[in-house]
Point group: C2
Chain length 232, copies 2
């Protein structure tokens, strides 16, 4: 996972690979060919001293520690990586309008997908039926399909020829999305409804930067099953 | 409110001045001395056609329309303004670490202050007592006091000598914070507890960029009273 390559000082990533937000940072580092040390947080029990010291406000992973300084919040870390390692490929475009559009979709993805995965993995929340959740999810993917058509300009990724900010933000969720689809029996990445996204997801998972950053599909499925069971 | 000055093309701001998120954009534009047209959204009734067309996903203000293109979400708009109008003062530092820290606090502010103002204006939410809300608010301001000590480097603003990203994000809430303090009888900007923030708030409200972007204090108080009454 930790590619050996030129780095500007010491780089550590505090996290757990099951977290899409940690995956996000891993993909960004791979994209920039930055070597780093992955520091595994304990799954159970007390949070590590290094995490509590590095992110005293939220006490949450991921945290990127670069030259001894902690950077928190996954989307902020990805922007930081793009600004520190300015080598190709750029994660964000140099055009302010395209940057604003990408930031908009990243915010949207975090807003919608977390809620969707949480609801379907933990069971429908009070006052919301499974059908409503499915409809909400389908609408979100439809909007992302349209966003892909606009952002990609007919190329392979939201970022154009290479993986960009929106690709990373959405791609890190693919393991969870597929697991939630299987367990809930609701298809979101449906070839008939969102063909562009389905093609994009296949390319994304084959991309060198994404390889090895996610668990195997059945591990996510097992986790979702465990979460669903414990929520009952 | 709309300062006459050199602009890069036509600039419109869709909004309502009672919204702190709209205030935020107004302050950023003033800081960069960008002239703009303020397009008032209807308070009641249907959303305007221009809003629905410009922000079809969230249908929410503020929207900045620059050269015919819409930019949505207040924090994203402020970054866009800084990237388009690169004249002094910079809103974000040019140092990636300082940028990441500023983005972290802006996310924190949006997360905590919206919840605080909403809870105190609409009445305490289920399962949360007023005392708990007060404690949570006090803790947030204490953290922001410490953030100010670190970010300002002994100068006037979070951004140093001039208003920056965190100043704008927090400053736009000052009208609501003071109104909520008055109506709920809880003091957050307390000289004894957060002296740096109290001094900062006074300077901020006197700054040319902030003047005229907020309603009069008693107008916010009246709005909070109305909200509290309608929530009962």
């Amino acid at each position: 996972m930790a590619a050996a390559s030129a780095t500007t000082g010491e780089v550590k990533l505090l996290g757990l690979w099951r977290s899409p937000y940690v995956t996000r940072v891993g993909i960004a580092l791979n994209l920039k060919k930055v070597g780093y040390e992955f520091v595994q947080e304990e799954v159970q029990g007390q949070k590590s001293e290094i995490l509590l010291k590095s992110n005293p406000v939220y006490k949450k992973i991921p945290v990127l520690i670069h030259q001894g300084k902690p950077v928190c919040e996954s989307a902020i870390i990805v922007e930081y990586i793009d600004e520190i390692w300015t080598s190709e490929p750029p994660i964000l475009s140099s055009h302010p309008f395209d940057r604003a559009v990408a930031r908009f979709w990243v915010t949207y993805i975090d807003d919608k997908l977390l809620a969707l995965v949480r609801t379907l993995a933990f069971g429908a929340t009070e006052g919301t039926s499974k059908a409503e959740v499915a409809d909400g999810g389908a609408e979100a993917f439809q909007l992302l399909e349209e966003a892909f058509a606009k952002c990609s300009h007919g190329k392979e990724y939201f970022g154009g020829d290479t993986i960009g900010y929106v690709d990373i933000a959405l791609g890190c969720w693919l393991g969870w999305i597929k697991a939630v689809e299987e367990v809930s029996n609701i298809k979101f990445l449906d070839e008939k409804k969102v063909p562009l996204l389905v093609g994009w997801a296949e390319r994304f998972l084959q991309n060198e930067a994404a390889k090895g950053t996610m668990l195997e599909a059945d591990e996510y499925v097992q986790r979702v099953k465990n979460l669903s069971a414990s929520a009952r």
